[in-house]
Symmetry: C2
Amino acid sequence: MLYWHYEAEKNMKKKVTFADLARKTGFSKTTISRYFNNADSLSLETQEIIRAAVEELGYKENKLARVLANGRTEIIGVVVPSLYMHYYAYLLSHLLQVGEEYGYKFIVFFSDEDRDTEKKYLSELMAYNVEGLIMISHVTPSKELSKLNVPVITIEREDQFVNSVNANNYQGGLMATRHLVDIGCEVLIHINGDLLTTSPAYGRIRGFREIAEKSGLESREYLTRLGIKYRDIRENMIPIFEDIEKNYSGKKKGIFVSNDTSANVLLNLILQKYNRLPDDYKLIGFDDSPISWEAVMPFSTIRQDTRAIAEDAMEMLVRMMDGRKHRIPIISKSLIHHVIDTELIIRSTTEKKENNE
Amino acid sequence: MLYWHYEAEKNMKKKVTFADLARKTGFSKTTISRYFNNADSLSLETQEIIRAAVEELGYKENKLARVLANGRTEIIGVVVPSLYMHYYAYLLSHLLQVGEEYGYKFIVFFSDEDRDTEKKYLSELMAYNVEGLIMISHVTPSKELSKLNVPVITIEREDQFVNSVNANNYQGGLMATRHLVDIGCEVLIHINGDLLTTSPAYGRIRGFREIAEKSGLESREYLTRLGIKYRDIRENMIPIFEDIEKNYSGKKKGIFVSNDTSANVLLNLILQKYNRLPDDYKLIGFDDSPISWEAVMPFSTIRQDTRAIAEDAMEMLVRMMDGRKHRIPIISKSLIHHVIDTELIIRSTTEKKENNE
DNA sequence: TTGTACGCGTTATCAC
DNA sequence: GTGATAACGCGTACAA
């Protein structure tokens, strides 16, 4: 019941510390510390002596001790809903990439779950003295996050009481819908979940609604929970598809679906029924997830620039964390909500064929 | 240039420590410590007094100080290649989930990169005194990992000198190929990267080869680097597809593709050319990635049980970490390589239509 | 059941 | 340039 193989048992010896280096070189621990934090303040000779000792003894830095002494963990906490939605996977991946460039490490939690579990995660993070927090999960209200006494940034979730970075969902909704109008659709249809108006993604609905009204065209919203798993989404999409088939047959339909995963489900239903995309179906998704271009028929979508979102979030968080280090923390009383532009990506599902400009 | 909003500035006061609790209650710091680690050793009365003080002062535990004193960080380091391949995203997600059940937290690094960068990540992790390491990234040779003086588990990568958990790739290769034989294919084709024989995934090639030889059927291997991005894979897949079209037209082809992302690319090429899957094309992928069932035509594949892999890896790692805590670390000199079964998933791309049993 | 004293490995402060 | 010493917050012998 004991399973640890490793190369050299002799490595098991205790770790080398500043004290060891001090003893070896004849300098004090203070000088050793300076060697690592402010080498220039030492004579070249001294530096060389210590360098040699570090190498010979095989010293490895101990961040924990440093943290206890100076308080800087260089750790950021992240709570993500899950990686089942590609969007989150990309976002996380970019966040870590950018964060590492700033020299931060990340303790990551996944939390699809209830508020209590997430609360536990949050206090764990606080116990490790994380310097900042990035919240993508949406189960904990921003009001509570704001009480956490640590810099917090949220991304694409309710953000009433905290700083945040979000995609310009409204703009995306406008662009998607306007595009459907532009290519000559006669009926505008929007499929989305039953979102709260405080959710940033609700902007997609507002955008759709605004253009739909302005256009004067017939329009329809299907706002009902679709789910996040393929099966569930399919289950819920079938009746919607049937309803569309029944009520809008013959008319040129422009359908804007809330996200690419769901858009792909609908596209599959259409293709499986007709074996091709009929001319009276125009489809656009949201996110620019891989599925939008990996499908047999790559479909139009609104691109979220996750890289830009990650960069913006990190930059903002770093400022907040830096501000905190001053003797008197610099604090902005006004909240900051950054909004990152989206982009219209036109693919084969919304190309106009028989229409002229 | 100062961006930190938070609810209550008064929270900014210094953190409550054991010393504060001791002062407040009149007990010693030791007693406070016992309250958290071994409450039963205190009188109920004492417990209650301390509990009240904890609540009143709003004490929050400080793991870092505890770690410095007792050495247990409860942190595991993970290095993942990227989240661009769904497989890794799922694996990571399961690892964190299982690890949290054991009470561990994870510092996560993504590393597509060179060995030097990864080396830096590894020493960062060591500097934080992580208790264990899970390596999924494959750029650092296992020989080096074994020298790290910390329990290490690798997953689906070269593992000559460390303990590991892998899917039964060989079994998967056998099953996929045998299935193609069973449904009456006349030519067996395998598409894969130019893998090293030390890579666990090479087992897929071995499995294919074995059945191909036994069957006596005509067979062909396309072993060349495909890439991990859709575009690249498509670029590389086109000539292969053309070659297959040219050389094996008219014959019933059973094609086993190394992973679902690539299989989907090939399926798209076929569907885009024929607008349906011709009867003489039988296709099977590997991994059971979402794309395998989210495609218009869900395709057959070999399922990797990432949940089981994650559980097994964590269980093994926990044992190694526990063994290490004994006064004399318990160490197994023999390496352990666990292998997790795979499963054949039959979908529409390998159904036999015109054949009888 | 409770307390004393020291250690964990580094940084900060002040002195020389 | 360099050093002594006191933190940092908690765990743990050992003692009472």
